[in-house]
Symmetry: C2
Subunit: 198 residues, 2 copies
């Protein structure tokens, strides 16, 4: 209501995930009243990041260079490849500190109803990567959703002719999970995939 | 982790109210992966708004011009002034459609412990505005918080010598409020300020 530019800022803020009209208005007023320097800084950071960050030519994760640091690194296991849906997943796995191999980002999952088939998520390119013979094990770390599972199963079939071990990240009760509150599908998976105690 | 510019964007997003490290990361990835055009648009909108929006010379609300549309308007009651703490309050009252007078934005409330006294929230300037004789009624619409109440009481005392009616927005049970869940202070106010039914 104050001016056109104010409305434009509120509208622009609404592209952020889970920001509705009320939050956007609150953010705009906060920036204008209390942190104008921060607003300029955010504008600059958005412009810089959007101009310079793009996909890594090898793994399709995000980088400012042609090839990302993980793909370039010699310290990481070249024989181990982790296939994920998005760069956010790379970030989550890196933050868990549980993996020291290389990554491959699909950029989505199979979803025939939305017209997303193997070509759209670059499965031919992944098979080409695997055909080089350097990779010995592929960890399928697509999401544990219906689409993520379907994508993992498709990849298993599509790579049957290649001499690589295909593994899938474990599914079961999460850390701190109380059985009483865990959904029955997860629980049935956890019982089915039970492991010998060591 | 992807690059310095990514980290800078995540840090910059954290200045937004109620955005923590996880949300900021999610926002940054969302913009870079799914809406880069929107990111450029947001950068532009932030820059434009921060460069062109400032305080109205008369009421201290926000405007792109020297004087805001409400202060300039001849359709609004010149004799009625609503005193609020911030431009967000002007927006809220305008959206309620309940007021057709002019505004005065204090830009805060009295808070002696933080060194915010009458000078800091421009009370001398407000008294000067009221001294012109044009304003007949002042509606004190500061927040119903301890500080807002104290500010309203201070203003009542400070304007005793002026020929203006000072009123305070009503306090009581909000629309849809169930007495069982209303706090006891509000309820005691509502009983104390009971009104004759018409």
């Amino acid at each position: 209501m104050f001016s056109d530019r104010f409305e434009q800022l509120v509208q622009a803020l609404r592209i952020l995930p889970s920001v509705g009209p009320k939050s956007a208005q609150r953010m705009a007023l906060h920036l204008l009243m209390k942190n104008r320097e921060g607003a300029f800084g955010l504008a600059h950071a958005l412009h810089e990041a959007s101009s310079h960050i793009h996909e890594c030519k090898i793994c399709h994760s995000l980088t400012e260079n042609e090839i990302c640091d993980i793909c370039l690194s010699n310290d990481r296991d070249q024989h181990l490849l982790c296939v994920v849906e998005s760069p956010a997943d790379v970030m989550a796995i890196e933050q868990s500190g549980s993996f020291r191999g290389k990554y491959h980002v699909l950029g989505g999952h199979l979803s025939p109803l939305d017209g997303i088939g193997p070509e759209e998520i670059g499965i031919p390119y992944l098979i080409q990567r695997l055909s080089s013979g350097e990779i010995e094990e592929v960890i399928l770390a697509t999401n544990a959703t219906v689409e993520g599972q379907a994508t993992a199963h498709y990849l298993l079939e599509a790579t049957k002719h290649l001499p690589v071990h295909m593994t899938r990240i474990a599914q079961g009760v999460p850390q701190g999970g109380e059985l009483e509150y865990v959904d029955s599908h997860t629980l049935s998976q956890a019982v089915h995939n039970r492991m010998k105690m060591k």
